[in-house]
C-alpha cells in the first residue's frame, strides 16, 4: 500500500487543483482543462512507451498527432461526390502506382545484393514513378480543388461516426511509424531525435499543402460530434428538468416567476456546456483507463521485462537471443499509434482540423516536458506529467498576470514597462515550462513519480 501512497496523493493534489479552478474561474474552464489533460495523458503514454520502456527518442510526436487528426477528418466528413467524379479515379490510380513502387522496391531489395547499381535502379524506379504520379494527379488535383472551393474543394471522407477515427488514427500513425522506424531506427539516439523531428515537419508540410486531401490551411470545420450539441440540449425537456433539480435551492430563493424563468434559462445554457464537456471527459477517461490497464499489464509481463532489458543494455539482450531491431520497431509503432489516438481525440474535441496550428513547441517538446517531469518508465507518472504540465501551461498566464500586477503595483497603470509585461503574458508559460523542465532534470532526474521495478 505504501508504494501507492505517493501516486494517490499526487493525483489527489492534481484533482484538487482542477476543482479549485472550477470554484475560482468556472466549471466550463476546469472541465476543458481536464479534457486536454486527458488528451495529453494519452500522448505522454505513447511517448512513454517509446522512451520509458525502450529508450527510443521520438521527436516526431507532432506528425503522429496531425495524422490522427487527419483520420478524424477522413472518417467523419461525408464524401464530396462531385470531387470524386471529377478526379477520384485518377487519385486511385496514383495510389495504385505508389503501392506498386513500394512493392517493386521491396522486390529489388530482396532479390539483389547490396550494390551501388541496386541503389541507382531503386532511385530510377522512384523518380519515374513520381513523374507518372505528377502527370496523372496534376490535372485531377486541379479539378478537385476547383469543386466549390469555399466549402469543400477536397475529396471528403467516409461519413462514418467520428469515434471510429480514434482507431483509424492509431492505424495511420502506426503505419507512418513503421516506415520511419524502418528508415531511422538504426541511428544513434540523438540522430534519431533529429531525424524524427525533421520527418514530422515533412508530414505537416504535406498535410498543410495537399489541399485535395485535407483542405490544407483552409481548415476543416464543423466535424460531427460523438456527444449532443449544446443548442439541442437547451431545448430538451429532460435536460431542463435535470438542471432544475440540481439548482432547486437557488431557484426557490427567487420568488418572481419571470425572474425565475430567466435564471433557469441562464442555468440551462451554462449547464449545457458543462454537460457536453463532461461527456467528452467521460469518453476520454475511458480511453485513458483502457490504455493504462493495457500498458501496466504489458510493463509487468515478460515482454515488458524484455523491453527494459533491451533499454538498459541492448547488447546483452541481443546476446540472450532477443531480436532488438524487431522489438524496437514494434514499440516504435505501438507508441506512435497511441499518439495517433490522442490526435484523433483532440480533433474530435475541438470539432475542427487546423493543419496550420501544428507546431513543434506545442506538440512535440511540450509532450516531452510532460514525460520527463512526470516520470519516464512509469505509466502513472506519465499521466500525471500530462495533467500537471498541461495545467501549468494553461494556468501560467493568469498566475503570471497576478504576479506582474503584484510586483508592479507601485508603478502607474500606464507605465510602459508594466504594459509591455502584460502584453507578453502568453510567453511567460514558455519560461515556466523551461524552468520546470530544468529543475526536474536537475533535482529529480527520474521525474515526480519515478519508475519502480518490481523484483520477484
Amino acid at each position: 500500500m505504501k508504494q501507492y501512497s505517493n501516486i494517490i496523493s499526487a493525483y489527489a493534489i492534481m484533482l484538487g487543483l482542477i476543482i479549485l479552478v472550477g470554484f475560482l474561474q468556472s466549471w466550463s474552464m476546469a472541465l476543458s482543462i481536464l479534457c486536454f489533460c486527458l488528451i495529453s495523458a494519452v500522448m505522454t503514454m505513447g511517448a512513454n512507451i517509446q522512451w520509458g520502456y525502450a529508450g527510443l527518442i521520438n521527436f516526431g510526436i507532432m506528425g503522429y498527432t496531425a495524422l490522427g487528426g487527419l483520420a478524424a477528418v477522413l472518417v467523419s466528413v461525408p464524401p464530396v461526390k462531385e470531387a470524386w467524379q471529377v478526379g477520384g479515379l485518377k487519385i486511385v490510380i496514383c495510389a495504385l502506382i505508389i503501392t506498386s513502387i513500394v512493392f517493386i522496391v521491396r522486390f529489388i531489395l530482396n532479390k539483389y545484393k547490396k550494390s551501388s547499381n541496386r541503389n541507382y535502379i531503386i532511385a530510377l524506379v522512384i523518380i519515374v514513378g513520381i513523374i507518372f504520379i505528377r502527370l496523372i494527379s496534376g490535372p485531377a488535383i486541379h479539378l478537385i480543388e476547383a469543386v466549390n472551393p469555399a466549402t469543400t474543394g477536397f475529396l471528403g471522407g467516409m461519413g462514418l461516426p467520428i469515434l471510429f477515427s480514434w482507431i483509424v488514427g492509431a492505424f495511420f500513425a502506426g503505419a507512418l511509424a513503421y516506415v520511419i522506424g524502418k528508415i531511422a531506427l538504426g541511428l544513434r539516439a540523438d540522430y534519431l531525435a533529429i531525424a524524427t523531428l525533421l520527418i514530422s515537419e515533412i508530414v505537416i508540410a504535406v498535410i498543410k499543402h495537399e489541399d485535395w486531401l485535407t483542405r490544407g490551411v483552409k481548415n476543416v470545420i464543423g466535424l460531427k460530434r460523438p456527444v449532443p450539441y449544446e443548442i439541442e440540449l437547451q431545448t430538451t425537456q429532460w435536460f431542463i428538468n435535470l438542471v432544475e433539480k440540481f439548482n432547486q435551492g437557488a431557484l426557490n430563493l427567487v420568488i418572481d416567476l419571470l425572474e425565475r424563468e430567466q435564471l433557469l434559462k441562464q442555468l440551462v445554457i451554462d449547464g449545457s456546456t458543462v454537460f457536453v464537456k463532461l461527456c467528452y471527459a467521460g469518453l476520454f477517461s475511458i480511453v485513458v483507463i483502457i490504455l493504462l490497464i493495457v500498458t501496466q499489464k504489458a510493463l509487468y509481463s515478460p515482454w515488458g521485462r524484455m523491453m527494459r532489458a533491451i533499454r538498459d543494455n541492448d547488447e546483452a539482450a541481443n546476446a540472450m537471443g532477443k531480436n532488438v531491431v524487431k522489438q524496437h520497431l514494434l514499440i516504435f509503432v505501438l507508441g506512435s499509434a497511441v499518439v495517433g489516438i490522442a490526435g484523433a481525440m483532440m480533433v474530435t474535441y475541438d470539432g475542427l482540423f487546423t493543419p496550420g496550428s501544428y507546431r513543434p513547441m506545442r506538440y512535440t517538446f511540450l509532450i516531452w516536458v510532460m514525460v520527463i517531469v512526470g516520470g519516464s518508465g512509469n505509466n502513472f507518472g506519465a499521466i500525471l506529467g500530462g495533467f500537471a504540465v498541461w495545467f501549468l501551461w494553461i494556468e501560467a498566464a493568469p498566475a503570471s498576470l497576478f504576479l506582474i500586477n503584484l510586483f508592479t503595483s507601485g508603478l502607474e497603470e500606464t507605465n510602459a514597462l508594466r504594459l509591455h509585461l502584460i502584453n507578453t503574458i502568453p510567453y511567460f508559460r514558455l519560461l515556466v515550462m523551461g524552468i520546470a523542465l530544468l529543475l526536474v532534470m536537475r533535482y529529480r532526474p527520474k521525474g515526480i513519480l519515478p519508475e519502480k521495478i518490481k523484483h520477484i
Partner: protein, 336 residues
C-alpha cells in the same frame, strides 16, 4: 544572347539568393557542429540562441539610431553586432555555469544533455518573446541595392535583370571573414589545436594537460559569436521573427549532419548544400527552358520539381537520404 539571358536568370533567382541563405545556414551549422564535437550533444537551442543574439543587436541598433549614429550606406546593425555578441557570450557562459556544467561533470549521457538543451530552448525563447515580442521586425537601414534589375538591363542590354542586394554582399563578405578567422584559429593556434584534440579524444587530451574548462569556454564563446553574426545577417537579409529563427534550427541541423556532424568545415559546406538544393528543386524552370530550347520545344508547365511549399521538406529529405547511405555525413574528413 538567349544563352546569356538564361544564365543571368539562374544567377538572379538561384545562385545569389542561395549563396546568401547558405552562408547564414553555414554559420549556424558550424557552431552546432562544434558543440556536438566538443560538448558531445545535440544543441536544440541553436535557432533560439541566434534569435537571442539578433534581438540584442536590434536593441543596440535602435539605441544607436536614436543617438543619430549610423554607418552611412552600411546598415547600423553592423556597428551593433559586437555589443550583441558580448551579451550573448555572457548569456551562454551563465547558462553553461548554471545548467550544463553540472551534467558535464556528472558525465551524463548525451541524450540527457540534449533534453536539458530543450529546457534552455524554452527559456531562451521565452526571454526573446518577452523582451522584444513575437512580431516581425525590420531593422535594416542604409543603401538597399548594390545593383538594381533596371540598371543591369540598361548596362548590358539583356532582357533579364540581375538584382544584388547589399545585404547579400555583406552576408557573403562577413561570412568569408568570420569563417577564415575561425579556421585559422582552429588549425593554427594552440588553443584551437587543443580544441581539436579534445574533440578527437577526450581522455588523451586531458592526459596531455589540456584544460577542459578552457576548451569548453572557448567553444561557447565561438558559438555565441557565430550565432549572433549568423542571426543578424539573416535578419538583415529577410526580417527578424522569433518563430522563423526557431524553425531555422531544422535546416541548420540538416546542414550540420549532412556535412558530417562534429566537422565544422563539413558543416560550412553543408549549409550551402542545403540552401542550393532547397532553391534548385523548388525553382520553376519554365522561363529558363524558354530561353534555352528552340521555340518548337517550349514547355507548357512550370517545370517545377516540387512546389515552394515543400522547401523545408527538400532539405530534410536530403538529410534522411544522407543518414541512410552515409550516416557520418558527406564530408567525413578530419573530425575536429
Amino acid at each position: 544572347m538567349d544563352f546569356i539571358n538564361s544564365i543571368v536568370l539562374l544567377l538572379n533567382y538561384i545562385f545569389v539568393p542561395a549563396l546568401s541563405y547558405g552562408s547564414q545556414l553555414a554559420l549556424g551549422a558550424i557552431f552546432v557542429s562544434l558543440i556536438y564535437g566538443i560538448l558531445r550533444f545535440a544543441y536544440f537551442t541553436a535557432g533560439d540562441l541566434m534569435s537571442f543574439g539578433t534581438m540584442f543587436t536590434i536593441l543596440f541598433t535602435w539605441y544607436f539610431q536614436s543617438l543619430g549614429i549610423n554607418l552611412g550606406v552600411l546598415p547600423t546593425a553592423l556597428l551593433a553586432i559586437p555589443f550583441g555578441v558580448i551579451i550573448t557570450i555572457l548569456y551562454v557562459l551563465a547558462k553553461d555555469k548554471l545548467v550544463f556544467s553540472y551534467y558535464r561533470t556528472k558525465k551524463s549521457p548525451p541524450v540527457m544533455l540534449a533534453m536539458v538543451s530543450i529546457g534552455t530552448m524554452f527559456v531562451t525563447q521565452a526571454i526573446v518573446r518577452i523582451v522584444i515580442g513575437p512580431f516581425d521586425r525590420r531593422f535594416f537601414d542604409g543603401e538597399k541595392f548594390i545593383l538594381k534589375a533596371n540598371e543591369f538591363k540598361e548596362m548590358t542590354g539583356l532582357n533579364e535583370g540581375l538584382t544584388i542586394k547589399s545585404t547579400q554582399v555583406i552576408t557573403l563578405l562577413v561570412t568569408i571573414i568570420v569563417v577564415s578567422i575561425l579556421f585559422w584559429f582552429l588549425n593554427k593556434t594552440k588553443t584551437g589545436k587543443s580544441m581539436r584534440a579534445y574533440s578527437d579524444n577526450e581522455d588523451l587530451a586531458l592526459l596531455s594537460g589540456i584544460d577542459p574548462k578552457k576548451v569548453v569556454m572557448i567553444t561557447w564563446v565561438i558559438a555565441a559569436i557565430l550565432a549572433t553574426i549568423g542571426g543578424t545577417l539573416y535578419g538583415l537579409d529577410k526580417s527578424f521573427k522569433p518563430f522563423t529563427y526557431f524553425n531555422n534550427m531544422l535546416p541548420i541541423f540538416a546542414a550540420a549532419i549532412v556535412g558530417g556532424i562534429g566537422n565544422p568545415f563539413g558543416a560550412f559546406l553543408g549549409g550551402y548544400v542545403i540552401a542550393f538544393s532547397e532553391i534548385l528543386i523548388t525553382y520553376a524552370y519554365k522561363k529558363f527552358f524558354i530561353y534555352i530550347l528552340p521555340e518548337s520545344l517550349e514547355p507548357d508547365g512550370l517545370l517545377q520539381l516540387l512546389s515552394t511549399d515543400y522547401k523545408f521538406a527538400v532539405s530534410f529529405s536530403i538529410l534522411v537520404i544522407v543518414l541512410l547511405f552515409r550516416p557520418s555525413g558527406i564530408f567525413k574528413g578530419k573530425i575536429i
